[in-house]
Subunit: 988 residues, 2 copies
């Protein structure tokens, strides 16, 4: 048996050829490593010595209070033996850091953690501090953190009977191939164990087989992390928490360990969780399967578990959406040849002579030349699209409801119900600024005092002391000192910069969109002036394609820039806590990225072609170039092209290049660098198994879920906002997500250090963003259908203007007349190749004909159709909103079986406790009655049984259980114990 490790004892030598199973343990092979702290050690010569041995008892600034005074006498004694002097740190900052580390680690030990030092990565001088949490620390913290654990009590989950039961069974059978091959945990089976907050008073409730494995690795590391977070460093650096220390550079990083290697399990039974996750989740081969969400949660914690669960729900619900989208698209294809408007457009017999699209250079043209765009347009702009838009709005509402339910189910099965929000410590940055503020304040106070005759040196020292005392008192009580906090005054510069930068970046986005417009206008004008026939024929295709690609590139570049800027801006605002920081960051990043991704699409949907003017009165920009117009087939087809290219391009490029390529490159670079620096070491290491902490240190640190969520939310925007114009968007999103899930999974399992397991009940602000987007999508889709598509004019024509009640004549109806003689001098086609003599040409608008008294004004039809369009918007918006509310209302937030289970569990718990109480009472009573009957004649009165002798009972009770024991305390607190009362009563 190995001797226990204590700070004063010798460092153990790391086994060179350790058993792979043992790589997760202390050198004694018994105690599990729950957490690792890493710091860089610059002293090369004495790298083999533990830094523990270097303690500084004399510190330069002289204000180091005697450590022993703060501690118990025994501790002080114990410590004095360890003190050794080493005055040769590499640089002064390094020395200070070491002091901080020493104090911090001493405090950790005081909190009950056990530690082991070692510097395996010698060449780089990295030292790994391995931390182990023994059982009493675990149990104490589990009680404080109110961690729920399974009790012995279990109950059967009753399956439904009858038809519903059969259906359920069939469904399960059908679903079998899609279930991941993961060992069944208790929740998935037919029995469910009751869970209850861990309490050391109620140890008999829990099924504790072994104290080493009762808490799983994730819980263990969470507990250690919690201690690391709240442990303070009062003497050396006046701060608390490992995050601050990492920010100060005292430690390089801190992370829990992975469960082992993700490769190389011999048999399916012996796989550790990481291997199971790798085989059953992080593989493209299992793309069609459900995710093992419970296992993900068990391994990575609730927050990451919720992300993947959310992603799963979203992807799953994309399946029906894409199916309907495909059907709508197919409907468009099927009706292509029976669609009257596009037939009319392609009909060369009708021969509409269209007005030239620009001044001078452009010629008259025949409408039938735009036949192909009209046909393509019909694919997306058909009555089914309206249905699809309504469907997708309800789909969004349904998705949110479904997720709410799923979240509650998960909360239930992950025992998160009733979880309270945890107290958060301020961020390092906030603390620093606060410190500066206080110091400034005090300096000012001192200054005024100094003028009354005190020495600056003295006051400086006493100030420091005072501040330290205040901090000390704050640390011990856990309450921040006084009312000192950052007010809006301190934040005003931050807010100001933030808002102005955001406005500036909006400006950048808009000017980017505008530049692309200018590009399109000028290039098409230049190409139109070219004499080359081939160039001319392909104007629209060339210009559109190049412009969209430019747009895409700009979006991708700005996206990266905005991400960085958002972080910077949020830092400037000095948010207090990490949650606060995250929320602000998300909001900013979302706003910027949303604008960036959607600005060009909004332009095409609602502005393009609306300010182009009419023949003879075109609108010009820069005096020279005409505002661009939509293709004759309608703006919807352009919107569709724009949307599909940006969506696909963004996803493909971001997924492939940014998410796969760049990490690969980074890794390559790191490996190369490592090899360069320590060619000898890698050779040396080849022969032996490296410990897990060294392997994990080689991985990328985890940087939060924000980018993952952000990507998905922007995608959700593509799926919901403009879905009326591009019914295939859900399909592409689905395809992307199927890959995305496995890509993310691979990243989490193989490429990242294990993240700290963070408890979370919900996906936080993302839900609000999703729901806001869902609401916004209703109005956007309403406008797309009524203004961008030709749905309303077609409807109006068919039911109001057409004489036959059919669509025949629709094209004629949408085209206004223009008298060629009204063209201003110099704007008529210079060279006209048009075969016919033209007196009237046509253009797409509802305006009065030249022979009307108010020629070229908007016609009555224009206003009527406008009214219809607006009416449709109101109708659509309110109808869909109402239906969404209905969906929200009809689908209960808490699934029925969950609420029933919760009730049942509550009743069972109360039952367990009541029974316990009763047993206890009976035991006391029987003892008591024996007692009393010996002393006096006991009247057989029921009432005296009702008033059990609660006090003093434990004297004659060798081992009172839980609550019974507390009766002693009860009686001690009372002036007259009920027992006395009872005796009095019975004595009468």
């Amino acid at each position: 048996m190995q001797p226990p490790l204590s700070s004063g004892s010798k460092i153990p030598v790391v086994n060179n050829f350790m058993d792979p199973e043992q790589r997760l343990y202390f050198a004694d092979g018994k105690r599990k490593v729950d957490y690792v702290l890493v710091y860089h050690c610059h002293r090369r010569p004495s790298a083999r010595d533990s830094p523990d041995q270097h303690r500084l008892s004399v510190i330069s600034n002289g204000s180091f209070p005697l450590r022993a005074a703060q501690k118990g006498p025994e501790e002080g004694k114990a410590e004095r033996g360890e003190v050794s002097v080493d005055l040769g740190p590499a640089d002064p900052a390094e020395g200070e850091k070491r002091m901080i580390r020493e104090e911090f680690e001493a405090n950790l030990k005081e909190a009950g953690l056990e530690m082991e030092h070692g510097s395996e990565h010698k060449a780089h001088g990295h030292t790994f501090v391995r931390i182990h949490a023994p059982w009493q620390v675990l149990s104490r913290e589990a009680e404080f953190l109110k961690i729920k654990v399974a009790t012995k009590k279990s109950y059967e989950l009753k399956g439904e009977k009858g038809f519903a039961g059969t259906m359920n069974l069939v469904w399960q059978k059908l679903n079998q191939p899609f279930q991941p091959n993961v060992p069944q945990t208790q929740d998935q089976g037919r029995t469910k164990f009751l869970s209850h907050c861990f309490s050391r008073d109620k140890m008999h409730l829990y099924n504790i087989k072994s104290k080493d494995t009762f808490f799983d690795n994730t819980t263990r590391s969470r507990i250690v992390y919690e201690i690391l977070r709240r442990t303070a460093c009062t003497r050396t650096c006046q701060t608390m928490g490992i995050t601050t220390l990492i920010a100060k550079g005292v430690y390089e990083s801190a992370f829990p360990l992975h469960d082992g290697d993700f490769k190389g399990a011999e048999s399916a039974e012996e796989r550790n969780d990481r291997q199971i996750l790798h085989d059953e989740w992080a593989r493209y081969g299992v793309f069609y399967k459900y995710q093992p969400v419970d296992l993900i949660r068990k391994y990575f914690g609730e927050k990451i578990g919720l992300y993947f669960a959310w992603l799963g729900v979203y992807t799953q619900l994309l399946i029906p959406a894409s199916l309907v989208g495909i059907i709508v698209f197919l409907y468009g294809c099927a009706t292509l040849d029976t669609n009257v408007p596009s037939l009319e457009m392609c009909d060369t017999m009708q021969n509409f002579t269209m007005c030239p699209l620009c001044d001078g250079a452009c010629d008259y043209w025949e409408l039938s030349t735009a036949c192909s765009t009209a046909r393509a347009s019909h694919l997306f702009d058909n009555p089914a699209t309206v249905f699809f838009a309504i469907f997708m709005s309800l789909w969004a509402a349904m998705f949110l409801e479904h997720w709410k339910r799923r979240q509650i189910s998960l909360n239930h099965s992950w025992d998160l119900t009733g979880m309270e929000e945890e107290e958060e410590h301020p961020r390092p940055k906030y603390e620093t600024i606060l410190l500066q503020k206080r110091q400034r304040k005090m300096r000012n106070q001192k200054k005024s005092k100094n003028e009354h005759g005190k020495s600056a040196v003295e006051s400086g020292e006493s100030r420091k002391d005072k501040w330290r005392q205040r901090l000390l008192s704050a640390m011990t009580t856990g309450i921040p000192p006084g009312q000192e906090k950052l007010t809006w005054r301190d934040r005003i510069p931050g807010y100001f910069i933030s808002i102005s930068s955001i406005l500036l970046m909006f400006g950048v986005t808009f000017s980017a969109v505008f530049s692309v417009i200018i590009y399109r206008i000028t290039v098409s004008a230049l190409m139109a002036m070219s004499t080359d026939g081939a160039t001319k024929a392909n104007i629209r295709v060339t210009v559109t394609a190049t412009a969209v690609i430019i747009n895409l590139v700009v979006i991708l570049i700005l996206d990266e820039i905005y991400g960085t800027v958002a972080v910077w801006l949020t830092e400037l605002e000095i948010p207090k806590t990490e949650t606060n920081f995250e929320e602000r960051l998300i909001l900013k990043a979302f706003l910027l990225k949303f604008m960036n991704a959607y600005a060009p699409i909004f332009y095409v949907a609602f502005f393009k072609g609306r300010f182009a003017g009419r023949p003879g009165g075109y609108v010009y920009v820069f005096n020279d170039y005409r505002m661009e117009e939509c293709a004759p087939g309608g703006c919807l087809i352009e919107l569709c092209i724009q949307l599909s290219i940006i969506m696909l391009g963004k996803q493909l490029i971001q997924n492939n290049i940014f998410e796969i390529g760049i990490p690969k490159l980074k890794k390559l670079y790191r490996t190369l660098k490592d090899k360069e620096q320590a060619p000898s070491e890698s050779e040396e290491q080849q022969g032996r198994v490296r410990p897990q902490w060294v392997l994990d240190y080689g991985l990328e640190p985890f940087n939060g879920l924000t980018p993952e969520y952000m990507e998905m939310i922007i995608q959700f925007g593509f799926v919901s906002l403009f879905v009326a114009s591009f019914p295939l968007a859900p399909l592409f999103a689905l395809l992307n997500n199927v890959i995305e899930i496995r890509l993310d999974a691979k990243k989490f399992v193989t490429e990242l250090r294990r993240p700290d397991a963070i408890r979370a009940k919900d996906i936080g602000i993302w839900y609000n963003i999703l729901s806001g987007m869902g609401k916004f999508s209703v109005i956007i889709n309403a406008f797309v259908i009524s203004f961008t598509s030709d749905f309303i004019p077609r409807l109006m024509y068919q039911y109001m203007y057409s004489d036959t009640g059919t669509m025949y004549g629709f094209i004629d109806h949408t085209l206004s007349y223009f008298n060629v003689s009204n063209l201003k001098p110099g704007t008529a086609p210079v060279v006209s190749n048009y075969p016919k003599e033209v007196t009237f040409c046509r253009y797409k608008d509802y305006r009065e004909p030249p022979w009307s008294p108010d020629a070229y004004q908007f016609s009555k039809h224009y206003w009527a159709i406008l009214a219809a369009r607006l009416g449709f918007v109101i109708l659509f918006q309110n109808l869909v909103m109402f239906m969404s509310v209905l969906v929200d209302w009809v689908i209960p937030d808490v699934p029925k079986n969950i609420s029933e289970q919760q009730k049942k569990e509550k009743a069972m718990l109360v039952d367990v406790f009541l029974r316990e109480e009763k047993e206890k009472l009976q035991l006391i009573q029987s003892l008591f009655s024996k007692d009393v009957s010996q002393a006096s004649s006991f009247p057989s009165n029921k009432r005296s049984l009702q008033q059990p002798p609660l006090g003093h009972g434990d004297h004659c009770f060798p081992r009172p259980r839980g609550r019974a024991a507390s009766f002693s305390q009860f009686s001690r607190q009372e002036s007259v114990s009920p027992w006395h009362e009872t005796t009095r009563h019975t004595a009468v």
Copy 2:
């Protein structure tokens, strides 16, 4: 000293001249009466005997299991002494009821309650069972119910400093006269006591001065009520809870006692809570003061406290709304003489000849005769109204936000945070139906068995037994037996009747509205045909006034009917729990009453005059009568009249007649009836003070808050839905509510029995209804402004059609031309007194003139204005919705000081517990170290201090506190105690 009361002892004689202070106590003058059960006792001759003495040991149906078998031996013994036979009940049902009562009360005693019987109301044979909860019951239940109580630990509420602090102080000073004169409770002062769930383990935490007064009366009665609710009656009636027993008629009623008389306190200091409430709350004299919400909650419980708090917040927020409303109205008054359209209308020089309003009987008329309505219309239909509508929509959002915050503050100061929903028992009706269903099922099963040769009698009995057993097992575990519950199949008839009845009643409402329309049309047509000049001149006034009054009467009558029908329908749906019942009832009643109150208003706002047709093409109903049109001044003024009369009439009549008059009448009737029945008793009683329970029994029972809320919600509708047409609505609502609060207060304090104190965190479904109405009001107001008022046409005229950019010529623009020769034969005025020859007459519409190619079609202006109207609706709706979301988002739900206090309290609690833990640990350690140092040489190792000897410690520890004591249990549960481990380590 009085001997304790037990069921077997003699009944105490009630003191005839009891001290008023003692009226709330048992006959011993010591034990407080916490609850009273009342039942009617029919046996006149032996009325003076306690019914307790009549126990039936032989019961007719023979299936009565031996009671002793279920109980402990001693209890059985105790009981056998009491058994006495009485076989002469007045009727068989009465005997059964008595048996149930006996069992129920025995079970209550088993639960620890103490009871006293008495029948003071002899003449009527009412027996009052007074219930007292002793300390051990209170403390046990308080722990189960997780009732939070104040601990000894308190902290100072820090006031703000600097400018904010000064402002706060000034505000407090200004507010002083409006504060009710209520003794300061701790929460209102500067210190706040931490509160914590009551736990008998932690008695030292609480400041227990006297066990009799530690729990206030409300808490005591709540605890008793909780026991009454869950106590089962398994032998005699297979049910549980006092509500079922009341429903079955076993008890007549059950209520907690008031704190004493509400009159007659000598000095302000000695007032009891009821007197304080009466003086400082339930008086019209204090109408300008805040309500003593904390005291209301203390006296009546959280649910009623929340109602009054909500009413207070609503009334308070009506003040700014009415102020703005008055300003808007005054603006209308002030601009009356400068308003161009009404000036033009009143200008007799312009002389528009208007077309006749009906066929034959009506003559041409001059527009200037409608001058007065036009002027009146301007009072409400001016640009300020648009602003007011936006303001009120935001006001509604603000109100909801404000209430949310207030609710959270109240939750905090009332210690409701973290309150879990309580398990509810099924309603009696539900249980009965479920029982019937089960019996039916079992009978069917038995039937099929019987066919295989069993006697029906046997099976019937065994069925009963089986069912009883099952119920017994269910009662003991608290889990409903099996999956037996009512499914949708059982409820289908209920739902079907419900839905069809609601549709029917909608039909009734609509036909009522339609009848009034018919009334108006026919009466005005008849009056128009009259030859009397005076009649003719007053047509519109007479018809409108009578019609509105008819409407009002119909609404009031239907309101009452619908209230009753809603209850009946909800009963049919067999909701499971009381909450469920309440929600369904509220939803139904709200739907019906909402439709009823608003249908006529909706008609006037959006339909009246829109289907009237045009001259020469009027729309007729019943072939004879023209559809009615709005007054020439616009529909808004009619809407305003309708709204104001219905709102004011409804409030005045419902408040005065229904709420004050009818209860008075009822009371009068009861007093008369009482006098008639027992003239002797009232004389007899005059000389002596009646006990509180007799006084309280004479009051009206409490019937829930639904009617109170409903009234306010319908009023909220008047204030928010059509506020654009009647800016004075908030003012009238405010006046009404100031009275309403005191009226309700009077009712609760003086006229009702004390309601059971029910815990509630929020106002439940009412909040959703309010928020739904707030949202609905946005779209309604948008439509009122754009369609009912002339706002949009005026705007369009001024900025698009007017040549001068002013409003001059607007009236001319709104009137279309009609060629008199186009009148169909027989529709021209029969006798025309019009002074001029008419070729063209004018009518209010946007149609093409007679000389246009499509004469009398809607003109281009019509469509343009329609588009503008619709555009305005979209703009208004989305703008206001966006602003509401912004308001919602900007105002945090949890007030900042509350969230800070919560954090502080949490930190302090953790601190208290941690310190306790530490002290305990140190104590153990010191004892342990002494122990060990005696036995062996104790190494001064810090680690062993970290691992305290958790087990066995209590042996050498005479009175372990709280958790320390539980270590014994801890060690008992484990295979290897940490103590062993520690010794092993230290021994190495």
